[in-house]
């Protein structure tokens, strides 16, 4: 390996470390609502503190989202890769579970961090 290989790796890892800090900061607040979007359009917004099951059936396919004990997970999907179902439960602000084949995004939001962002700016 040459010197520039190491420089390239060091630069990439440094960028990733900075990125991780930013992501950690953005995802530090606990969320309060769950927003489900399909194809970029909001399908529904749900309360994170309220245990419930959301079933979505559309042209893309079938998904079941479960909100339980303050966290969200995808429990069922008929997509080919099932990455969304294997995804860990989410509960923090700005965390997402994505079902790419179904163009579906489950996102946790919190109104508090939105305010904090506004004051920072």
């Amino acid at each position: 390996m040459k010197k520039r290989d190491w420089i390239l790796i060091a630069v990439l890892l440094a960028a990733a470390a900075v990125g991780l800090l930013i992501v950690h900061h953005m995802q530090s607040g606990s969320g309060s609502t769950v927003t489900v979007t399909v194809d970029g359009e909001v399908y529904g917004t749900y309360d994170l503190d309220e245990d419930q099951t959301i079933t979505i059936d559309n042209d893309y396919g079938h998904n079941v989202i479960e909100i339980s004990g303050g966290s969200v997970s995808m429990t069922e999907a008929d997509c080919p890769d099932l990455i969304c179902v294997h995804h860990a439960k989410i509960s923090k602000d700005n965390e997402t579970i994505i079902c790419l084949p179904h163009k579906l995004v489950v996102e946790v939001d919190s109104s508090e961090t939105a305010d904090a962002d506004a004051t920072l700016r």
Partner: protein, 168 residues
């Protein structure tokens, strides 16, 4: 020409087998989109032993064939975006003498993940996907480094074997 087609076919077959092997290994970190990218090993070796044109053809054909046989059409878009971007970056870096196969492969691994993520963010119309970038960069560096180190060991014997076929 026949020799060229035969060697390309061998490389494509090898890439397909590696993709298949990788699909067999349950390799899941709870983070979407992280793969070893074993098939990229074949593309890196092709880039250094067969030249850019043939390596490009091998890369595109293996993505098409793997998507049709083991994958699905929606996954093809991401593979193609990642494959094309990483090929472009690896081609440009391999032309410069400053980087060895490890550096080229690391850049390829990272840009492959970046290409897929950009297409994914466009398709679901959600910029929060970009929060995956740091993790995907780290994954790209690690898998790229592994592939690059293996490639640097495999390239000399492959080059030798290819030269032997020419003389016969």
């Amino acid at each position: 020409m026949t020799r060229k087609i035969t060697i390309s076919a061998l490389f494509i077959a090898l890439a397909m087998i590696l993709s298949y092997l990788e699909a067999l290994i349950p390799f899941n970190f709870g983070i979407p989109g992280i793969k070893l990218g074993l098939a990229n090993l074949v593309v890196v070796i092709a880039l250094y032993t067969l030249g850019a044109r043939q390596a490009f053809a091998i890369s595109v054909i293996r993505i098409l064939l793997v998507s049709v046989t083991f994958g699905n059409m929606s996954a093809m878009m991401y593979s193609m975006a990642g494959g094309l971007l990483s090929f472009l970056i690896m081609y440009l870096l391999s032309r410069s003498s400053h980087f060895s196969t490890a550096g080229v492969s690391v850049a390829g691994g990272v840009s492959h993940n970046a290409g897929q993520l950009i297409v994914a963010a466009v398709i679901v119309e959600n910029l929060n996907l970009m929060l995956y970038i740091p993790v995907l960069i780290i994954a790209g560096v690690l898998t790229g480094l592994l592939i690059g180190v293996i490639a640097s060991k495999v390239i000399p014997p492959v080059r030798k074997a290819l030269n032997n076929t020419q003389h016969r």
